[in-house]
Every structure is written in C-alpha cells, then in structure tokens.
C-alpha cells in the first residue's frame, strides 16, 4: 500500500535541513511501528520518497512524502488510512504534523504509483515581514520610496533584544510574553505597497540575475509566477486557501506576500527571487533576514491547482 502524506514543518524545526528531515521521518516511522516495506539488498532502506526539499529556515504546511507499507501490521491487522495516520502521528514530535494522509492507487500502466517527487509543478508561498522590521515610505529627491527598515533593537541590529549588557538585568528570554516593540504597518503604507506590488507584477517581464551552476544568467521569471497578492494579517488574496497558512507564524507588521510559483525539477523559482526583484523594482535593498518564508501547498497540475 502506498500512502501519500502531507505534513507541516513549523517552529524551531525549521532550522533542520532536508536530509535531516528525511532521517527524522525514517526514525519516526520505525518508532511508529508502521509496517513499512524495505528495499532488497544487504543494507535495506525504507521505501519512502520525499517531494521537493524545503530550505533551512522555511516553514511549511505543504510538504509531501510517499511511504509504501505492507497491507497489514505485524499482528495481521489490515492497514488503513486512519490506522496509518494514528500510528505515524504518535511518533511525531512538536514541529512536525500530519495535515492529511491518503492511500494512492497504483498506476496500472507502470505497475507503480506516480512518484511524489516527479509530480511537482508548482507551489504556493506566503512570505511575511518579520517582527523587528518595517517597510517605510521615505521621501528621497521628491519621490516616495519604500524601504525595509529594522528597529534599533531589531534582532540584526548590533544588540539583540534578548540580550542586555547589564549582567543583572532580566533577560527577555525569561519572559516569553514580553510585548514586542514592532508596530503594525499603517493602512496608508500597506495600500501604497499593494499598489506598487500590483504594478510590479503587471510588468511585461521580470528579469532577474539567476545564479546557476555554470554562472549567472538573466532570466525572465514572469511566466513562472502563476498567481500573487499582498495582504495584511486579516486577509488572504483570492485563490490562496487558508489551510496552507495553518502552521505559519503571524508577525506584527502584517505584510504578507502570496506567491504561486513554478516548482519542481524543470523550473524551480524560489520566492526570495521574486521578493528580491520587487525590491530592486522599488529601487531599495532586499534583506532576506527580514522575511519568513512559508510553503503553503504544492501542486501536480498548476492549471487545475490540483494538489499532490
């Protein structure tokens, strides 16, 4: 039996890289006692396939993996979606959660299910401005310009907020609920930013300097941006569901970019490329540390927005 599992990765485990996530699930499956199948040979490995890797620091509600199990567990009890989900869930620790689990059919032609990895065509991302940063309008040479600013006490400023020079001062880490110094973005700025983003997306082409193995290449990524939007914390642009944001952190500035981009082995566009191009369009500097990227969903068919 093949099960396709959609899972979320959130919180502190966002710092765990893809290979370690794979190793985590191999161990979790063993702890769960799922009757997973193994490959043949002297060093058998579990039949487990992951879709697109997720970068370090990125959270997600839309990760996928396929596992192949025996039809029944070691005691002869038949496997089902419910049982598989219960077993695997019991072995997962905070930061990993099953969003959905379904059995997928064998392809009668190939006598093998379609591989999760090979199916990926597109992905949705939400990119949020983090606490400690703001986007401000500044008046330079008679022209309004939007720039990313970090507060003096923002985490990338010389002194982090949870650090004090005075040895006896209370640490912020001791009081996790201490109010954050960041303010929500004012309505006027948000509206202006939305206008600018809409204008940017409507450009005929969006050319970026894409780094490849063989060097740098000017590439138009416009055809690979399938949908987009900019929203505050209370809204989600049309076409982007809410399920994909369930495990995403919410940040005070309330500036969230939504992007549906080409993904997978043919053309894979990272959301930070779009953001970088946008800030370049604004004539200001992009700061990758100012944003939290969250993968919402992955698609096998981008036309029908069919999920895996």
């Amino acid at each position: 039996m093949i099960f396709r599992i959609r899972f979320a990765k959130y919180g502190v485990v966002k710092f765990i890289g893809h290979l370690d996530v794979m190793r985590y699930f191999q161990k979790a499956v063993r702890r769960s006692m799922l009757p997973i199948k193994y490959s043949q040979g002297f060093n058998p490995h579990q039949l487990m396939v992951f879709a697109q890797p997720l970068g370090v620091g990125v959270t997600s509600d839309g990760e996928y993996m396929d596992i192949e199990t025996e039809d029944a567990d070691s005691k002869g009890n038949p496997m089902s979606e419910e049982i598989a989900r219960t077993m695997l869930s019991s072995a997962l620790t905070e930061g990993f959660e099953i969003v959905s689990l379904r059995q997928i059919p064998w392809d009668e032609g190939t006598k093998h299910p379609e591989n999760a990895m090979a199916l990926i065509a597109g992905a949705d991302y939400m990119v949020s401005l983090k606490d400690g940063y703001s986007i401000k309008q500044v008046n330079a040479a008679g022209e309004n310009k939007l720039v990313i600013a970090s507060k003096p006490d923002a985490p990338d400023a010389p002194d982090a907020p949870d650090v004090t020079d005075a040895p006896d001062a209370p640490d912020v880490t001791d009081a996790p609920d201490a109010p954050d110094a960041t303010d929500a973005t004012d309505a006027a700025t948000l509206t202006y930013l939305k206008e600018k983003f809409a204008a940017f997306i409507s450009e005929k082409e969006i050319v970026i300097n894409k780094k490849t193995k063989s060097g740098e290449k000017m590439t138009d990524i416009k055809p690979y941006i399938y949908a987009s939007g900019l929203a505050g914390n209370e809204e989600i642009p049309e076409g982007f569901g809410t399920i994909g944001t369930m495990h995403a952190d919410i940040y005070t500035p309330g500036i969230r970019f939504f992007l549906r981009l080409s993904a997978g082995s043919v053309v894979n566009i990272k959301p930070e490329l779009v953001l970088e191009a946008f800030f370049s369009y604004l004539g200001s500097e992009y700061n990758p540390l100012a944003f939290q990227i969250h993968r919402m969903q992955m698609y096998s068919d981008i036309e029908k927005t069919e999920s895996l």
Binding site: V12, F15, I16, D20, R31, V56
Partner: protein
Amino acid sequence: MRKLALSDEVLMSVDKSARYIGHEVNAVWKDPEKVDIRFCMCFPDVYEVGMSHIGIQILYELFNRREDTFCERVYSPWPDLDKIMREKNIPLFALESQQPIKDFDFLGITLQYEMCYTNVLQILELSQIPLFAKERTWEHPIVIGGGPCTYNPEPLALFFDIIYIGEGETVYDLLMETYKDSRKKGETREEFLMRAANIEGLYVPAFYEPEYNADGTLAAFNARDGVPKKIRRQVVADMSDTVYPEKPVVPYIRAVQDRVALEIQRGCIRGCRFCQAGMIYRPIRERSLEFLKKYAIAMINSTGYEEITLCSLSSSDYTKLAELMDFLIKEMGERKINISLPSLRIDAFSLDVMSRVQDVRKSSITFAPEAGTQRMRNIINKGLDEETILSGACEAYKAGWNKVKLYFMLGQPFEEDSDVEGIPHLADKIAMAYYDTVPKSERQGKVQVTISTSYFVPKPFTPFQWAAQITPEEYLRRKTLLMDTLKQEHNYKSIKYNWHDSNTSILEGLLARGDRRVGRVILEAYKEGCIFDAWTDFFDMKKWEKAIEKSGIDFGFYTTRERDTSELLPWDFIDTGISRKFLEREYVKASKAEITKNCREGCGGCGCNSWNTGVCIESKA
C-alpha cells in the same frame, strides 16, 4: 514551543543551526519554576561529538528521574557562533529551556580528553560565570567536573568548585540532597562545599593546597582540616541494578555515533600497561543478559535508530557474548536494525558474528597490536602474539575480507629501533598471508593493510605514569625509521602508513600529568584564542608555545622527564583502588618484558578487589 535563545538572524548566519535549538526526540521537558534544582550537563565539544557520548545520557536520565531536578544539556558553540555570542553579549544557554546557564544551580562538565580543556574555559566565559572557582558566589552555579581526565584534575583544579572522581551513578543523589538541605538552611557557599567535600568521591580543590620542592616536584598536598586526605573513586557495585536510559535523546543532525549504544560491561581484564581506561575502570563488571536485552529493545523502540552498537573496552571478554549476539541478530534482524561490533578480538567466533551482521566486502578487520615485536608487546602487556594476529588475518581473508587496519604506538617505554622496525615487518607478514591464503582465482583485488601510529602519552594511574614521553623530534625520527623500513618490505605497495600529529600529543602529555601550575598554561592558551584544540582546523601550536612561555613553566619537566617512583605525584591524593605498589611492580616487570596474566587467568593483586564486585568475585560466585 519554547522561544529560542538565539534570534532567527543569528541562527540563519551560523553553520548547522540545529545544534542550538534543542527540542530533540526524547529531550526532557519540565517546568523550571516547579523544580528545586536546575542542572546543566555539558560536554565541552561540538554538539555532534557531545551527543554521541553515552555517559551524558546516563547522567541525564539519572538526574531527570528526580522530580525535584531538571537536567538540561549544553555543548560548545562552534567558533562561528562563539564569535557572535561574544559580540552581542549573548549568555550561553541550555538547550531544553534555552535559558542562561549562569542562573542554574549546577553546571556539570565532563572531561573526556585533555584537548578539550580550553573549551571548558570557553563554556564558563560564554556562560558569564567567573573562570576561577574562588571568584564565584551563590549568584553562580556550582561548577562540577567528571570523567576520565579527573584522575588528574590538578591542571583544571582552580576552575572547578567540585570534581567528581569515579562513576556518576553513585553519589550524585546524595549531593543533590545535600545541596537542597544546604540552601534551605541558608548556608554559605563554602559551608555547602565543605559538606560536599565530605561525600565520598567528591574533591573540592579549594580545600587542598600543593607545596613544591625547589626542583619543582611536589613536596606535599595539604588538605584543610575537616576534609578527607584521600578521595576514593566511585564504583557502581551492580551494573545490572543501576540507572540506564530507556529513551536516549535523538539528535536531529547526524551525530558522530548515530546509533543506540548499549554498554555491555565496564572495566577491562586485560591490564595493558599503557592504558588508563584499563586501570581506572577496574574491576570488570558485566551487565546481565536480561538487563541488556530489555534496554536494547526499549532504546530501539523509543529512538527509531537503525543501528545498535555494543560499548565496552573489549567486547570479546563479555562472557555471554554468543547468547547476546544470538538475541540481537534475531530481534534486530526482524526490525531491519544493523548491529555494529567495535572492540572485538579477531578470532573464528568474532569473524563468524561479524560476517553475519556486516557487509564483508565493505568493512575492514582491525587489530591493535600496539607494538611491532613480541618483546615490546610483552613490555606493554598486550596479550596478543604474532601467531594469533596472523591466524586471525588468515581466517578473515578466507571469509572474504581484504582490508586490514593495524594500530600501533611509538614511544612507549623501553622501545628500541628494532621494535619500530618490527611494525612494518609485521604488516608485511600480514599482507603476505593474504597471497598465501587466498588462491589467485578467488582474490578480490589486492590486500590493503593500513598502519597507524600514535605518539604515546603516559597517563596517570598506569604502570607507565612515571615514564618519560619521547620528544617530538624523537617521535618524528622513529616515524621516519618506520617509513624507511616499510619501503624495503616486499609488499610495501599494499601497505599504507598514517601517523598522528606530534604537537597535540606532546601537549596532551603536559595536560595529562601536569600539576596545578599547568592551569596557568591553559588559561594563557585560551586567552591567546585557543579553543577546539582537538580539531586540526583550529589547533594552533604557536599559541600554545606562547602560552607556555608566558606562564613560565618548564615543558620538559612535565613531559619528557622520567619520574622517580618515590616522587609524590599530583594525583596521588586520589584513591582509585589500584595500589601504587601494583603499578610500581608492573613498571619493573615491563622493564624486564615480563607479562602479567589478565584478571580471569589470575589475580594480579591490583587492589580493586576491595570493592568486592565484578571479576574479583566471579570465581567465588
């Protein structure tokens, strides 16, 4: 989910940020507000090394079994994070709660090898705890050391409040009770330390004062009134009735030992004269089969590891190894779990077991003759002769292996050039045996023999504790002699030679047998910027040389000087149970190339039968 001590910005800018986030599978969580004692357990090296250590996992279990105690972990921040923490004044934090260690009750640091000593100072400084014990108040944690290096704690004595001599399972509970009582009564830190100093096995350096002769040797080691003159090593009496983790913490990133570790026994019967572990963990004590079966299954189920390894100094000496292996091969086979078997003597039995659990073509066979001639092997009391090695190698070749690793030491006492030349001679015979044993038609390529030599470092509480360490120049000369001899051997093209760096070994010699004055060198080296000295990428001999010069100590006095057996040694105040007379006797026997039987063949009278356990009572049972 707990807030992390480090910001996303910091974590995104350092290598392997998963080292610092905690939250691993089986990591313990308690409400810090609801416990009496907060203990932070530290392995002063990088996370992947520290997480591989079974001792920490045992103590983590031991402390967290107590409802009143929350034991957390910390490892050395890698130099990239070290720099950021200093720049931003971020205090070092424990992984579980992510809270600063300076607010804890205890900071326990395990000392597993000498080259991590500067990392101890790094841990203290990043924690914002005063480096010197005498500068600490109740505002700071009690800093307690443990582990094999504490058998000569003197070089680090001034940096520790307490040093625990021996196995942690025995008196930590008593120490915790004493601490609680002391704090409740509002005693001073010194009053508490005085009570701690009267718990067997605990050494409080502040209460002891060394005195020196004009020639630099130790004249006396004075204990203050009210504390014991000798510190008795702690030994677990029953290894099958003691704490062991059922749920070891499983790191997210790959640790050096990425597997379940099952400690099958403690101690060793062999009595190799160079080996400190073989002395300080005496007597050998086995864990029962029932104990091992129970924990093997529990740990595999709770961790999801795909491999289990047996831990001990010499697995072949475990008396029920065959039964244990039958059990593991069956149970682990069903679960598709690999079994790894280090420290096995190569013979028909072990080759059979190994061929059942690992891929013969990919693995290699390891021998540790430690010396190239029989004379030299008798000097070091390595109970392994050429015939055994060669027959073992032949058996291995017949079973399909064609890679052999050989470990040797250069510079052991009484070594002569002919002993050095004996190393390539032996390697050549082993290579030759392949061509004599395996017919041409069945050979899978050439035989590959690898010789590794390390530079012998005399260690406290071994029969060689008085011996001179050879100079780095002499080590290099012997290395060259070995290499030149190797080139003359018939099969030299099948033999590869690796040697250990001489600088780290001579420094290890200084730290291993140093006295309290050597602490100054460690401090100066640390101030010069030395950390992670065990890592070739970071080790800088020039900084150490500068530190030695600044501290004004005589390097040769500690390393290349042979001590008289009448000399008072800095570690003589520790009672390991091994009598000094036994060690002296062994040193004399070494000089005559006389061997001593292993503990099972006949008691050598080392003195450890005072514990009345393990091999010392086996025959009587």
